[in-house]
Symmetry: C2
Subunit: 155 residues, 2 copies
């Protein structure tokens, strides 16, 4: 039992702002009840390669995807286009294994530290953030590691 267990769900993240590393916190199930999924029941999840710290991608999770990710350590998102769970790498083979996860201060965004096999991006690039932008110009900042046709078995 933690001193935060008495907090109503909608005040839990506010109460946790003053918590310390030494504090006992509510169980994960209690925190997940308080997570601020959006109107579609989704939460943005940022994936960062745990050792190099490169930000690889951002995708969405519903509660089921988040629970599965925490339980299995294999990262599972929710595909908004396919409207179903998307176990990263299920078609490309480029899986993400969870090293650690953290919610932000208001409980509406997740940061994942992952071990990414090969490219995270469906274009075959390591990271999805390959389109660099200044106020005037844009440039492509990286080349594919693998031909995307190979990733998805078209060759």
């Amino acid at each position: 039992m933690s001193r935060f267990d008495q907090q109503p769900t909608d005040k839990l993240f506010k109460a946790l702002e003053s918590a310390s590393p030494q504090d006992e916190l509510p169980a994960t199930a209690t925190l997940l009840d308080a997570v601020r999924f959006n109107a579609d029941g989704l939460l943005p999840a940022i994936a960062q390669q745990h050792d190099t710290q490169e930000v690889l991608m951002m995708a969405w999770m519903n509660r089921e995807a988040l629970e599965e990710t925490l339980n299995t350590h294999r990262v599972c998102y929710y595909s908004r286009s396919r409207k179903k769970l998307w176990r990263k790498g299920e078609s490309s083979g480029q899986q993400q294994h969870l090293k650690s996860a953290a919610l932000d201060c208001d409980g509406d965004t997740l940061l994942l530290q992952v071990e990414q096999t090969g490219p995270a991006c469906h274009t075959g690039r390591r990271s999805c953030f390959y389109l660099s932008l200044t106020h005037e110009h844009a440039t492509i900042n990286s080349e594919p590691l693998i031909n995307p046709d190979e990733l998805y078995g078209k060759q």
Copy 2:
């Protein structure tokens, strides 16, 4: 004139998947017309400290905030609660200066490399992602650098 300038707006990011660092790309204004802001006109923007690579926060930008950020190099978000532009640090003093920006493959998320003065989080912590989560337990992973009452002039 780039070979991608003939692409219709809704196919531009798809066409850019095959672009290389050597390619001339459309001007930023053209890309911004193609950016996939959500139904509220907003885009998630991840802020990463450019040298340590720590992910500091995620917030939202409308087109005006993004243009201002690219033009001034001082990071400006859109506050969903206050429903107006939010020049990071305007009340706390903890500004973010833009080093570089990149869009992701489908043009609906932005990654910012920033120089963050002091804490990025309103709780006084360096990063907003301080609530670590496993399948059973949660822990606070960092202490405030500064008392938040000092940040917002309450002391």
